[in-house]
Symmetry: C2
Subunit: 502 residues, 2 copies
């Protein structure tokens, strides 16, 4: 073994140890959300704190600095995987080391408190309760972006941690175009005054039957139950422990089976991504998605582009109706398809349809960018929210609970996260067009139930690479194109035009 | 803060960190047994390995040696809890440091392999497959006991890790007396030729109903569901993560509800113990049971002394029958009571009734002691097993699967563990008599459903102390008596004499 080989083996053992702590942390998080007894939560938080500290300490240790100092000068001698690993470790090292330790700790304590206060404030609809916390969070972040540094826009320093290498100037033209077209389409749809009759869905389906249905749907899209599991939680999520252990949850709303169905398709999409990463990346921080946006592209792909499409249900609706039980025998495919594609502006992002959803993101993106730039102050935020909501969605929340207090993201300090949702939608539509170019007519693929071929394409072009490449690079490699809003614009127009006759 | 106070605060932070790793390890173990996907198991094993190594390294570190070196000389200045903590840390330090590191690692690898080989050997009924592994294990243990040291009997060095401070010379007179009386009682019962009619139990109870039944039983004995949970596994167990998170599992055998019922009473007994430890001991290795024997006394107490008693069911049988469903309406209390107390020698320890159970232990205790002493060799073990089985139980296994390959304990190197099962039975009977002395007539307490008073007594005399005291000390404090076989002998005679008319 050469000196370099020996060093590399130590480096890989070091990062594997960090991954083992992360696996324990992921399991503790999963467990807290799937049924850990309430009295054990505060002690659990201590244990989580200890392991998180360990991971943090390892990421910024002198040992890590040594590894990076030795490997970066010889990067030309390293294989692709190791080069990417060194890049990721350097990013994390810099990100965490650039902020004075004491300030970082204060920020963690602040956001932990802020999340509880936010919860109370939301329940009471009282923004004033939460305002001082949000003001401090914004102050911290304005300070942090200066430590991290940026070229043009301070917001880029935040965006970078969720969507590596992507800047506001990459996003802005995409969002501008999508916004313009979305506002137009929503206006036309509203102009028809048509709303599908969704009353058929508002009948009770027992949780046991919904569970079986969700297992079936996961099976249909290719989820591997030998390497994962399905549980029930209030807020559905996906979490990965290791390459053979990828978990999803969903929620069984007795009165509306769509909640479980589309949650499980969404989380299942995230899970297919994680189950498809090259096992060779396991034990390193490259064994994860390329970015939040790419991850979201996979969940939206299966939830919307597949799961809310007509050809998919042309293939599977008969089976679904059979599994729903005899009381559903009268429901037609047309009613079903219309009922899962009801487009109308609403107040709550997480309940929005796939057309108006992005308008909720534009609203948040503009506001948080202005907050970080200093052109908007927290005290003026509720009013700014209402104005934007009126302008974009044409609806105005009555109280702040349905407005500025709607999401937890700002309380937890996650500024820069929201745009990745819309990036996910954009990426997904681009991937869909690329698949159709490579494999043939999209509708035909779904109608024939060729989901295996679609999944193999995603595995081959996206999943297996894990975090080897930055998101826009990965997208270019997969599609041969620059990021663009046109595929999503086309998709929405071609789908909803005929459906609403506009 | 004085220098000592500062040192103590560092010491407590150090052991708390170890407990946090242990909590993560406990959760990983629980998860592996309650539904972790099979493909994730090998990666999980790596993560478990890393965290176990961390705990081990901390327990034998120079830092720990420094703490002990500083605190032991000033032990008179320390409070009771800290003195016990220092004692426990010293025990673990010595136990792990006395064995050459390389030998210990080899032993861990050997037993890990031996467990898989044992599983295969048991399935095939082929002792020869397992024999070389068991021979090596015995060789290791004969070597280890010399490192650890002992006063009289090498077996004491093994026993000490499960039952601190208890030696073979403490056990022998108790076991001799119990054995003599058990053999006599079993002979008398067999002489009657009577067996209760248990056919009523062999009817199907759906898992959902059994689950509800188990939740009810746990509730009746005082299990706190806010601080614990119930799950289903093939092999029932209890595991504690932290003072507010104590978990039990049971098994729903569709054709015999007794399996679930008595498993949950048994594991529930373990759980009541853990839920009753003084929270002030949390975050230290004192937050656990005093010994395996004391722990087992609590499980057997609720499973047998309460759960297989007539007065308990005089109080609860009506409710049980109602919960079992209308098809059980004909079952009488007398039939039920006889059916849960069917005494007859059998081959399998885990399925034995409470009278013959201890005979299975005596058999194993004698054999493993002889193996360690060198008066028995592994090649002669199967024959020795058959001889002992004939002598003690009057039955002889046809193959080794039901004989010497029956239990996993030897494959995992757990020599010295078996006697704690019978110690648990002995302790439990002593506690029962002490409770009757303090609270009044035992049957009356159960008949009136005064389980809360019984549990409070156990909490006050046993549970809250955790591992502050060694087991025999704890027993003396709780009962005011020396360990004795008489309470169990009396209990068995008084219960089974009338039941079988002997």
């Amino acid at each position: 073994m050469t000196a370099l080989e020996q060093r590399l083996s130590q480096f890989y053992a070091y990062v594997a140890r960090m991954q083992h702590y992360r696996e324990a942390l992921a399991l503790m998080a999963w467990d807290l959300r799937t049924g850990a007894p309430p009295k054990g939560v505060s002690a659990r938080a201590e244990a989580v704190g200890t392991l998180s500290e360990d991971v943090f300490a390892m990421a910024v240790s002198e040992r890590m600095e040594e590894f990076l100092g030795e490997l970066e000068p010889v990067r030309e001698q390293l294989d692709e995987r190791t080069r990417a690993l060194v890049r990721e470790c350097r990013r994390e090292f810099d990100r965490n080391r650039k902020i004075p330790r004491e300030r970082y700790r204060e920020f963690v304590v602040l956001t932990t408190r802020a999340e509880s206060v936010w919860e109370e404030a939301k329940a009471k609809g009282d923004f004033l309760l939460f305002r001082p916390y949000l003001e401090q969070i914004v102050t911290f972040l304005r300070e942090f972006v200066e430590y991290w540094g940026y070229e043009e826009d301070p917001y880029d320093a935040l965006l970078d941690s969720y969507e590596p290498g992507v800047r506001t100037r990459d996003i802005d033209p995409l969002f501008r175009r999508l916004r313009e077209e979305t506002v137009r389409l929503v206006g036309e749809i509203a102009g028809t005054g048509r709303r599908p009759d969704t009353s058929a869905f508002l009948r009770s389906v027992p949780p046991d039957r919904q569970r079986e249905l969700c297992r079936w749907v996961l099976d249909v899209i290719g989820f591997d139950f030998e390497g994962g599991r399905l549980d029930e939680t209030v807020h559905p999520f996906e979490i990965s422990l290791n390459p053979g252990d990828v978990r999803v949850t969903t929620r069984y709303e007795p009165g509306d089976v769509r909640t479980a169905l589309f949650s499980v398709l969404h989380e299942g999409g995230h899970a297919l991504y994680e189950q498809g990463i090259d096992p060779d990346l396991a034990g390193t921080p490259l064994w994860t998605g390329a970015s939040m946006g790419i991850h979201e592209s996979q969940s939206r792909f299966w939830e919307n582009l597949v799961g809310r499409s007509l050809p998919f249900w042309e293939r599977y609706f008969g089976e679904l109706r059979h599994r729903l039980g005899p009381e559903w025998a009268e429901l037609t495919l047309e009613q079903f398809y219309a009922g899962i594609n009801d487009v109308a502006p609403s107040l709550i992002r997480t309940e929005a349809d796939e057309v108006t959803y992005n308008l909720h993101i534009f609203l948040r993106y503009d506001l948080e960018r202005a907050l970080i730039a200093g052109s908007l102050e927290v005290r003026d935020l509720p009013e700014a929210w209402r104005e934007q909501s009126r302008a974009l969605l044409g609806v105005v929340p009555e109280g702040d609970a349905e407005g500025v207090l709607q999401d937890v993201h700002w309380a937890s300090g996650s500024f820069g996260y929201f745009p990745t949702y819309t990036l996910g939608n954009l990426y997904a539509a681009q991937l869909r067009e690329a698949i159709a170019r490579d494999l043939g007519d999209w509708d035909g693929l779904l109608r024939e139930g060729e989901l295996g071929a679609v999944l193999r394409w995603l595995r081959d072009r996206i999943h297996r690479y894990g975090k080897l490449f930055d998101p826009l690079d990965l997208l270019r490699r997969a599609t041969g194109e620059e990021p663009s809003a046109e595929p999503l614009v086309r998709y929405l127009r071609n789908k909803y035009g005929p459906l609403y006759g506009v």
